[in-house]
Symmetry: C2
Subunit: 141 residues, 2 copies
């Protein structure tokens, strides 16, 4: 995705498209799996982590990215590809491999929804499966 498209996405979400923000957004859009702050920091050795951190928080507030807790004690960030008002449609599960420590997006497995008790309102869901991935399983034998 090129600079113009990223810029448009940022503007559509009410975010001023500065240089750093476009860089961060581009990396996230093109990533095939959720990235940590540290991973973004190494991809972007021009910007300090505080700036990236603030950028990510801004994106979170605008629901442009989603935070994923995979238990690796560093939050991962994933771009929300379904823009517009049906962002909930994109809720897929994630898989954390306890061997290679990689977090996979299982994009084609939707999170099964549940009914909350009366009075509870929902903002987001995290469905995180942990185990061993196919690559590590096949390496073992």
């Amino acid at each position: 995705m090129d600079k113009e498209q990223i810029t448009r996405i940022l503007e559509e979400n009410g975010i001023r498209p500065t240089a750093v923000r476009i860089l961060v957004a581009r990396i996230l859009v093109n990533a095939e799996s959720p990235l940590s702050l540290a991973e973004l920091e190494t991809s972007l050795d021009t910007a300090p982590k505080s700036t990236i951190f603030r950028t990510l928080n801004l994106f979170l507030q605008h629901r442009l990215v989603q935070g994923i807790e995979d238990g690796s004690n560093s939050l991962k960030y994933e771009f929300c590809h379904t823009q517009g008002n049906n962002k909930f449609d994109d809720m897929h599960i994630h898989f954390y491999c306890e061997e290679c420590q990689h977090t996979y997006c299982l994009k084609n497995i939707q999170i099964p929804t549940i009914e909350l008790p009366d009075g509870y309102s929902m903002n987001s869901i995290n469905y995180m499966v942990k185990g061993i991935c196919n690559k590590c399983n096949s390496d073992k034998q």
Copy 2:
């Protein structure tokens, strides 16, 4: 639950029942919601956090407790009430209130299971819903 019962549970799980372990286990067994290391530390002002930490890790290894990531950037620990070989039966969802920062066990809502792609094997699932709890919702109006 009294000391004898706790001791028995520890022994059944191959854990030597020392004084500190019994204390930690008792708090967790009687807790109505998952507790953080810091919360256990204040309940147990006799033991330092390093000891509690190691005890919790031991319990985790033996699957006597379950770790729950609620996004509050401190891991919560919950006792696995279903002992024996059907521990997976106890997998219920959790709810994190973004207002009062409390983590609820919704014990009577089971985690809907999914089918993993070929080659992936599962060790555990975390189903975490975030939003506003009934108490905070009713306080608002």
